[in-house]
Structures are given as structure tokens and as C-alpha cells.
């Protein structure tokens, strides 16, 4: 298991990286943390002609706290940093809660936010979290840029809205709503394994204690992060209770996902787990929104 040959470029600036990408386009792969790409190359399932290493782009490895309470996170920010930076814990607690579920410390020491999003593995944590947080993604190309909503970014299995000449450079997270709660949970066969099912959820309450907004975004139950909007609608405008939570769990798991079975979990079992997780996650999220946890 050794990679096939390739040419290697390690640009020192984003502009140089964009230029290299413009030149090589579809023949090139971008190397971020490498924790997904390199194994695939070792298996020779990916054989890019050119590898453009983004690890020297310090400009993409920074976190900025916006005045509005939001965050701007560089795409090359390591998952280890997401786990530890106090600004993340304060302003994006859902992200903070989810990161330790990503594999193992060695992986998080190298793996990056942008790399995980751009890889778009439906079993990965960060894409689901990005959708749940209503993240906006900044995509740069030589001579231009655009912003894409996270929910529009994920286009299918390992497929995103990125054009061959674009680099995901930054992730913008809006500030948390008042009286909001969050929770992340996943079920894996072993500690650190890919999730069989996971759920990133955010809720907020109005002054009367009714659910103002709910976001339920699942991982590992489709070809991309799967948001259960109907289930969320069942919750919105009602006072959270075991009944509303159960109804949302049933709705999400039965009607809003179409999981594919694999050797570890059938589609039915995934739905079952999704239902169990929904209840556990929503209970925790609402408790947090109420300031109870």
C-alpha cells in the first residue's frame, strides 16, 4: 500500500495555491490534513497527478471572533484547535462538543476543518455540524470568491459545490441565538470509529419557553448531512415535552432519511438509532436552552 507517483507543490501563499490549482485543475488534489486523502492514496484508490499541499498557508489557519458574536475560522484550522480554542467553546459550543467525536487525537492533531468539509464524507461530524450551525463557506478561486451556505455546499457522496479551481478558505459561523441549546451525539462500534448514526442539533426557545427554532442534522444516514426539517417543524412553536420530542424522533427517523445499510448497520437499525439519538440529543439541547444543563 504505497501511493502512486505524483508531482508535489507546496505553495507558500493562498494566491500561489490558487494559481497552481487554476493551472492543474482536475488533475490536482488539495492536501489539507491528509487524514482521509492519504489513506485513499495509499490504497491507490486516488491517484492524483498533482498534489497541492495547503499546509504552508498560515493565512488559512486562524480563528477570528467577529463583533456580532460570530466566528470566522480558517479552513486549515486543525481539529485539535477547534477542540481547545475557548472562542469555539463559547461561540460555537455545538462544534466544541462534536470535535472530540472525530476519530482520535492523532487524527485531530492533523485533520482540518476545511479538509473535512471539502471531503464531504457523509459519516463525518463536521459537515453535519456546519449545516446545523448554518455555517457559510467562503470559496476562493484565482481572481474571485463566493460564499455558499453549508446546506448547499454538500452535493452528494464525497461531492461538494467546489469547482475544480476553487479552494474552501474560510468558514463563517453566525452567533448563537439567545436562549439556545445544542447537543451532539453519535453511536459508533468502537471509541473513535466512524459513526453508524450521529446527530448535531440546535434549538432555541422564545420567551414563553416554546421552541422557536430547531435544527436536526444527521450524519451517516444519507449521501450527505441530512437535515430533518419536518421533524423540526413539529417542535417549533410547541413547548418541549417528551411527546413532542418523541414525535420529532419518529418523524425524522421514519420520513426524513433514507439510510443505506452497510456491514455494521442495516437501514432499519440506522433509523432505530436515529430515533434513539434524537430523543437523547433533543432532551439535552432543550435542557441547555432552558439553562438546566
Amino acid at each position: 500500500m504505497k501511493p502512486a507517483p505524483f508531482d508535489y507543490l507546496a505553495p507558500e501563499s493562498l494566491d500561489a495555491a490558487l494559481e497552481a490549482l487554476a493551472r492543474h485543475g482536475g488533475d490536482a488534489k488539495l492536501l489539507a490534513g491528509g487524514q482521509s486523502l492519504i489513506p485513499v492514496m495509499n490504497f491507490r484508490l486516488a491517484q492524483p497527478a498533482v498534489l497541492i499541499d495547503l499546509n504552508r498557508l498560515r493565512e488559512l489557519d486562524q480563528i477570528r471572533a467577529d463583533d456580532d458574536g460570530g466566528l470566522r475560522i480558517g479552513a486549515m484550522t486543525r481539529q485539535r484547535t477547534l477542540e481547545r480554542d475557548p472562542r469555539i467553546a463559547e461561540r460555537a459550543p455545538l462544534l466544541h462538543e462534536a470535535v472530540p467525536f472525530i476519530a482520535h487525537p492523532q487524527i485531530r492533531n492533523r485533520g482540518t476543518l476545511g479538509g473535512s468539509l471539502a471531503h464531504a464524507d457523509p459519516a463525518a461530524e463536521l459537515p453535519a455540524v456546519a449545516v446545523a450551525l448554518r455555517a457559510r463557506l467562503r470559496l476562493r478561486r484565482a481572481g474571485g470568491e463566493r460564499w455558499v451556505e453549508a446546506r448547499d455546499f454538500f452535493a452528494g457522496l464525497l461531492t461538494t459545490a467546489l469547482e475544480p479551481d476553487e479552494i474552501l478558505v474560510e468558514v463563517a459561523l453566525p452567533p448563537p441565538a439567545p436562549r439556545s441549546g445544542w447537543a451532539f451525539l453519535e453511536v459508533a462500534r468502537r471509541h473513535g470509529d466512524y459513526a453508524q448514526v450521529g446527530l448535531a442539533a440546535g434549538v432555541s426557545l422564545d420567551d414563553a419557553g416554546r421552541c422557536r427554532e430547531a435544527r436536526l442534522v444527521y450524519l451517516s444516514v444519507g449521501d450527505r448531512p441530512v437535515e430533518a426539517r419536518e421533524a423540526a417543524r413539529l417542535l417549533e412553536g410547541t413547548t418541549p415535552s417528551d411527546e413532542t420530542v418523541a414525535a420529532a424522533a419518529d418523524k425524522a427517523s421514519q420520513d426524513e432519511m433514507d439510510p443505506t445499510g452497510d456491514i455494521h448497520a442495516s437501514a432499519d437499525f440506522k433509523r432505530h438509532l436515529a430515533r434513539v439519538l434524537t430523543k437523547r440529543v433533543l432532551r439535552r439541547a432543550f435542557a441547555r436552552a432552558k439553562g438546566e444543563a
Partner: protein, 791 residues
């Protein structure tokens, strides 16, 4: 047998002498070895489970940068005969396993061509440029279907896919008729991979001048590999040297001869340059021998008091594509039927076994061999019988366990238990877990969605098997003896050489403890060498829980011979009667006159100085080689108790408590015994809850990476409490019993019974391992009275 005061080395938790090099990155595994001019091999492996090879085009590969040679099965056929495992067992059919497949592939992963390059990278580039024209054949996947008339055949010359059938019978199973309760079911124990963390690897060096071949290989059995290579390659055996350097785990999987070992040796001879192959994890998961994979129908009849009346079983084993050398296709399935009665009195028994070829990786010996399966089935049947009778699981076992006064006991399949602490180990295990309290807590703790369960498994295994029966019945190999050469050099330090090979067991420490104590020297005065056919006496290697018993016995005999000679020399030099001499700590002295003393170095110098310093007629030198044959071998036994918690919503099982009470006879090193027991439990836990080799409908492997094939991590393992019941074997020199495999034998059954115990109130039985969340989900979902509602 003479007796002498123990110096306490045998039985001491001595720290391992292996550790220093392994902890500092100075171990030497095959992949670490470098020879001048060394080339690297990579194998092209079939993507098809069953296909005819119509043609292989290697032209582009030969032209690939850094590629030195490309060979196919046709190229190698005249250089290496196919591997063929012979057996005297009736009802057995041998298969030819070529070094590289030619004409036909029989499992996905089988090697069809080899590329030799200047680096592994270059060799893999060459693989990408080979094209093979395959004609896919109908795959044979289900062993029971494969037995039927008209099934496609794997091997045309065997004329059947049934490579083995065997029957055991004692008494009359008509006795079932009088049973108060008969319980039975169909049990499935799925396919398992060994996953030694070091993948298989070998390095061959052929010296054309002398016609000598050296193969460094990650194996448990260098002696066996040497004999086989000499034969298959047509090289005189005395010109073949096989070395197992540091080996990163074996677990039985590295005890077979592999096609790569033959191919790499043949390539080195053909190319005149050293050739190294370092298998990668994908190759390991696709091609290393796999384990178990049995389908068992079994029934147990008991009296109203729980006493066993009769037992019967049919066992179908999926043995994969080839019968492996030297163990044959019988190794696993025969052990299932012969060990099924366990440590219990079973007056009437009938067992039938079939080993059936399929288009999967070959099945081979793996830690526990057969007994994890037999124990799972027997212990499950006992628990069911107990539930039917309203008896406690511990009580039904106590009613049936063979008692000391009944030993030696001949089991219904003909195995002899020379000794054992069967009931004692169960009683002790119950005491250690506080079984009564656990049961009481379980009755109190009946919260609906989390259930607790307690599982017991008692087993007995045959260890240190001598020449009475081969470690694999019928196989055409001698596995009953080992030798030791103990040599004292003029400096008074001791080298003890063995034909054994070590892959984590710590023989360099434990065998040194034996030699040091029996010879009478300090521990650090002894160096153990092993794993090199040039360095030790003829032997086979380490497998089947034999090395402490057989290697330890040989070490004792050789040490005694050297000691006796040293004492005679000392008596001569000190002008004393040999009966008045003591030897310990490397010094011989006259009892009562400690000033009259000689160090072992002084004695050895005399020994090598010759006749002038020696008693009249004594041969010079101070070394001895002795062989030991324990003949029948000895029984080792244990009881495992597992306490689990089952989350009915997540369909997950967690271990709350795990206790092992084991009797491996006289302990050489309790620290190492504990490590063996816990390591074995980890592999058994994997078998019970996590690990399963999965093949798709077309025979394609679906668990070709460690992302898909799941072995336990530290987070899944409970803390294991190990209690030693030290009851020395009456049959073996030193009183040792083997301990390498036991942990893996008890754990699947104990965990399965614990889960079954937790789910019994829901009417759920466990018949299939591993108990994955998916399987638990289906079991729970099938229970109308317990819909998978959740919280």
C-alpha cells in the same frame, strides 16, 4: 527425579529481558532487515473469488521504472512445487496450493503474479501495469450448499468440496429418550481474523555458491518452514536456514506455511539477489489464515437434577479455499467436535464434522482452535438446560464437572484429562465475583431499558501435547517434542538454544528462569536464543500452548545434564564427593565448607581445558542437548465469569466485570501468565462482540481494512481480574501446563452467556457470535412483547 531446593526463579514475576530492545525501538522485525542488493516484492491479487485465468500480460509491468522482474504462476511452477498438507486421517482430501495461482483463482486476494522492484513503491507501480484476463466462475460461498451434488468444485481433483468428514461416538445417544429436558439449537460462530499488528513478511537470501537459502520470516514455526521449503524448492534441508527474528504477534495465524514464503524464496534463487516482501494490512486481511466460521447443530439432554445424559452435534466448517500446511483442513473443526463435551461428564456422545471448501481465504489455526466454538455451544446449552430446570447456571455446572477423584478422565471423544481443578475454578470464580450478590443485584436492577447479565464459562483444554497425538490429528508432522541446548562458556555464562520461536510470549525470560533455576545460576547469566534453525536443536516452533510445557521440559533436562557434569567436574577439582556439593548462583561449593568452592566459570574452563583437568574418561566441554516428549500432554482449565450491561436502545453490550480463574499448573512467571490470560480475553471479547470477517454474495471480502474489521481497543476492554489456581501437572516435567490460548477459549462463551442471561426475560437466546448491535437489534425487534421502544 532428583529434588533440590528451589532458588525461587520459577514462579517469580521476573521483568522481561526482551523489553529493553522493544521499548527503545531496537527490536528487529523482518521489515527492519536490510541486505545488500535487496529487492522488494509485491503481489498482484485476484479481485475474483473464483475465476479461470485466461491470460496475464506483464509486458508493461516489465517496462515500468524500477521493476526488475515479473513472474506468474506459470513462471514459478517449475521452481516451486505447490504446498500440499498431508494427513493420515480417513475422509480427508488434500489440496494443492501453488505459490502463485495458475489457471484458476480460488479466493479474492490469491496471488496471481509477483513484481520484484528496487522498492516496494516501484513494485506496486508494476502491479498497476499488469493485466489479467479472468473468466469468472460461479463462487462457492455457503459450505452446506457446497456439499450438495452439482455444486461447483474448487478443486477438480478432490471431486468434492468436502475436504474432511469425521465422526465421534461414545455410548448410545438413544439415552436422549430418558432426558427430563432436551435443549438444542443451531449456533453460528462467524469467521475471525487474527490481526497480528505486524503483518506477515519475509526476506529470502540465496547464496548460489553454496546453494544455501536463508529465509527470515515472521513465523511461529521456523522449523516447519525449513523442512517444507527444502522439499518444495528441492534444496537439501541442511542448506536451508529459517529465522524468525522479533515477531509482532502470531496467534496461530503465523503457524502455517504461506505461498509468499515459497514465492519469495524461489524469486531470490532465480534472481540471485535478496528479495523482501512486507505484507500490508489489506493483504493480511485478505490472505492470512482466518479462524472458526462454524455452523453447529447441537442438542443436550439432561436429567431432572441437571445431570447430563447425552450430547450430540453436527459441525460444518467453512475451511476456505485450501487445506493449509501443515495443519490441514481438519485442525479447527475436529477440535470443535472433540472438545465439545468440555470438562463435564458426558456419558453418551455423538459428534459429526465436515470441513467444506469455499471461495474464501483459507481457514487455519487461531488461538483456541475449535475450543472457543465448542465452549460457546456447550456452555450455551448448559445455561439453557438450567433455565428450563429452574437451576442456577453455576449449580448445573457443579453437578456435571468432572471431580478430582475421577481423574484421569477419558472424554467421550477420546481425549484424556490428566488433571484439573474444574469445580474448584468455578467455585473460586463465583467467590471472587461474589456471585450471590451479583445475582441479587441483578434481580433488583430490572430497569426496563438496561439489563444486566452474568455469564459463566468453564473449559478444559489439552496443552503441551506430546507425541501420542499430533497437535493436529492425522497431520503428517511431528509436534510432540522439542529440544534445548544448554551451553556454559568459559566465562561461566549460559546460552540456552531452542527450536521454539517467540512472538510476544516472553520465552527469553521464562525459559531463562527455568534454566537458571534448574542449572543453579543467576537469571541474568542465562541468554535464551530461539527462532533460528541454525542456532537451536531441531524443533518446530511455538503453537498449541506447548512451549512452556515442552520447551520448559527440554530446558529442565538439558540444565540437569549440564549441572550434573559441572558438579562432577567440581567434585574432581575440589577433591570432594559429588554428593556433598551444592551449586547455585553460579557457584559450586562443598556443603559445610563454603571456602571450598569453584565458580561456574572455573568449572567451565576445566571442562574446555580437556583431560588434564577432568575426571578420568570424561568428555570435555560443558553443554548438553536434550529433547522432551510429554507424550499425552496435560490439561489446563479455567472458569471465566463475565457481567455485562445491555443497552436495549442502542443495542450495545458493555462489560461491567470480568474474572478469570485459571489453572496452568506450576507458574513460571505469574506476570506473563496474567498477560497471556488478559490478552486472550481481549481476542475472545472481539469474537463475542466485534470481530467478523464478512464476504459478499460473490465472495468479495468486505472487511479488507481495519476500518471494517474491528478489533477491541483499550476503550472496549474491561479490567480483567485474573486468579491463578496453581495445581501442578502430574504429567509434565516441571508441572507446567500451557496457557497461551486459554483466555480466548473462555471469553466468547462467558460473554455470550452473560448477554443471553440479560435477555432471557425477553425470551431471547444467543446463537450467533459476534453479538453485534445489528444482531441484537434484530433479536429485539423480532420480540413482539419487547418492541424496541426507547428513551
Amino acid at each position: 527425579m532428583e529434588t533440590r531446593p528451589a532458588t525461587g526463579l520459577i514462579g517469580a514475576p521476573a521483568k522481561r529481558v526482551e523489553d529493553q530492545r522493544l521499548l527503545t525501538g531496537r527490536g528487529r522485525y523482518v521489515a527492519d532487515l536490510v541486505l545488500p542488493g535487496m529487492l522488494h516484492a509485491a503481489f498482484l491479487r485476484s479481485p475474483h473469488a473464483h475465476a479461470r485465468i485466461l491470460g496475464i500480460d506483464t509486458t508493461a509491468a516489465r517496462a515500468s521504472a524500477g521493476v526488475v522482474a515479473v513472474v506468474t504462476g506459470d513462471d514459478l511452477r517449475d521452481h516451486a512445487r505447490p504446498i500440499r498438507a498431508l494427513s493420515r486421517m480417513a475422509g480427508y482430501a488434500a489440496t494443492d496450493m501453488p505459490a502463485l495461482a495458475s489457471r484458476k483463482v480460488r479466493f479474492a486476494g490469491e496471488a496471481v503474479a509477483a513484481v520484484v522492484g528496487e522498492s516496494r513503491y516501484a513494485a506496486e507501480d508494476g502491479l498497476d501495469r499488469i493485466t489479467v484476463d479472468y473468466e469468472p466462475l460461479e463462487p462457492v460461498i455457503d459450505p452446506r450448499a457446497a456439499m450438495a451434488e452439482g455444486s461447483p468444485l474448487l478443486h477438480d481433483d478432490t471431486r468434492t468440496n468436502v475436504l474432511l468428514s469425521r465422526e465421534f461416538s461414545q455410548g448410545d445417544v438413544a439415552a436422549f429418550a430418558g432426558s427430563a429436558v432436551v435443549v438444542g439449537d443451531r449456533f453460528r460462530f462467524h469467521r475471525h481474523a487474527a490481526v497480528a499488528i505486524e503483518n506477515r513478511a519475509c526476506l529470502a537470501d540465496y547464496e548460489p555458491g553454496t546453494g544455501a537459502l536463508t529465509l527470515w520470516t515472521s513465523t511461529q514455526v521456523p522449523g516447519m518452514i525449513r523442512e517444507a521449503l527444502a522439499e518444495l524448492l528441492g534444496i537439501p534441508a541442511h542448506r536451508v536456514r529459517v529465522v524468525a527474528p522479533d515477531v509482532g504477534g502470531g496467534f496461530g495465524m503465523k503457524s502455517a506455511l504461506y505461498p509468499e514464503e515459497v514465492a519469495v524464496s524461489a524469486l531470490a534463487r532465480r534472481l540471485g539477489r535478496p528479495v523482501k516482501w512486507v505484507g500490508d494490512r489489506r493483504e493480511d486481511l485478505l490472505t492470512s489464515t482466518q479462524a472458526w466460521d462454524e455452523d453447529v447443530e447441537a442438542e443436550l439432554g439432561v436429567n431432572a437434577d441437571g445431570g447430563i445424559r447425552a450430547l450430540r452435534a453436527k459441525v460444518w466448517a467453512d475451511i476456505g479455499a485450501y487445506s493449509v500446511y501443515p495443519w490441514t483442513a481438519s485442525i479447527e473443526v475436529i477440535q470443535v467436535v472433540s472438545f465439545l463435551p468440555g470438562p463435564y461428564r458426558v456419558p453418551h456422545y455423538h459428534g459429526q464434522a465436515w470441513g467444506v471448501a469455499t471461495n474464501k481465504a483459507p481457514m487455519g489455526p487461531y488461538r483456541g482452535v475449535g475450543r472457543p466454538v465448542s465452549t460457546f455451544v456447550m456452555e450455551a446449552l448448559l445455561d439453557r438446560a438450567a433455565r428450563h430446570l429452574g437451576m442456577d447456571p453455576a449449580a448445573i455446572r457443579l453437578a456435571n464437572l468432572i471431580r478430582p477423584h475421577e481423574l484421569p478422565y477419558r472424554s467421550p471423544s477420546g481425549l484424556v484429562w490428566d488433571s484439573g481443578s474444574f469445580a474448584e475454578s468455578l467455585e473460586r470464580a463465583c467467590e471472587v465475583v461474589d456471585y450471590a450478590r451479583l445475582r441479587a443485584e441483578q434481580r433488583r436492577d430490572v430497569s426496563a431499558r438496561r439489563r444486566t447479565g452474568i455469564g459463566i464459562a468453564s473449559y478444559v483444554e489439552l496443552t503441551g501435547v506430546g507425541s501420542a497425538i499430533p497437535a493436529s490429528p492425522g497431520a503428517d508432522i511431528a509436534t510432540g517434542t522439542e529440544g534445548a541446548t544448554v551451553r556454559v562458556d568459559p566465562a561461566g555464562t549460559v546460552t540456552a538454544a531452542f527450536g521454539l520461536a517467540c512472538h510476544g510470549q516472553g520465552h527469553e525470560t521464562t525459559l531463562a528462569q527455568v534454566v537458571a533455576q534448574e542449572l543453579g545460576v543467576e537469571l541474568d547469566a542465562v541468554r535464551v536464543i530461539h527462532g533460528d534453525t541454525d542456532a537451536g536443536p531441531i524443533g518446530t516452533g511455538t503453537y498449541a500452548s506447548r512451549s512452556a510445557v515442552i520447551g520448559g521440559g527440554a530446558a529442565i533436562l538439558a540444565s540437569w545434564a549440564v549441572r550434573e557434569k559441572a558438579l562432577r567436574i567440581a567434585a574432581h577439582r575440589l577433591e570432594a564427593d559429588v554428593r556433598d556439593l551444592e551449586l547455585s548462583g553460579g557457584v559450586a561449593w562443598v556443603r559445610g565448607a563454603p571456602d571450598r568452592r569453584l565458580t561456574l566459570s572455573q568449572i567451565a574452563r576445566s571442562a574446555y581445558a580437556g583431560a588434564k583437568r577432568l575426571p578420568k574418561g570424561m568428555e570435555p566441554g560443558l553443554e548438553a542437548t536434550r529433547f522432551y516428549d510429554p507424550y499425552i500432554g496435560t490439561a489446563a482449565n479455567a472458569t471465566h465469569i463475565a457481567a455485562v450491561e445491555v443497552d436495549l436502545d442502542l443495542c450495545a453490550v458493555a462489560l461491567a466485570r470480568y474474572v478469570v480463574v485459571e489453572d496452568c499448573g506450576r507458574l513460571i512467571n505469574p506476570m506473563i501468565v496474567e498477560g497471556q490470560a488478559i490478552g486472550g480475553v481481549a481476542q475472545g471479547l472481539g469474537a463475542a462482540l466485534l470481530e467478523e470477517v464478512v464476504y459478499g454474495q460473490g465472495g468479495q471480502p468486505l472487511t479488507g481494512s481495519l476500518i471494517d474489521y474491528l478489533i477491541p481497543t483499550a476503550a472496549e476492554m474491561p479490567r480483567v481480574e485474573v486468579i491463578h489456581l496453581e495445581r501442578p501437572s502430574p504429567s509434565t516435567l516441571g508441572g507446567f501446563k500451557g496457557v497461551g490460548e486459554g483466555g480466548t477459549i473462555g471469553a466468547p462463551a462467558a460473554i455470550a452467556n452473560a448477554v443471553a442471561d440479560a435477555l432471557a426475560p425477553l425470551g431471547i437466546e444467543i446463537t450467533e457470535l459476534p453479538i453485534t448491535p445489528e444482531r441484537l437489534f434484530r433479536l429485539l425487534a423480532a420480540r413482539a412483547e419487547a418492541p424496541p421502544s426507547c428513551t
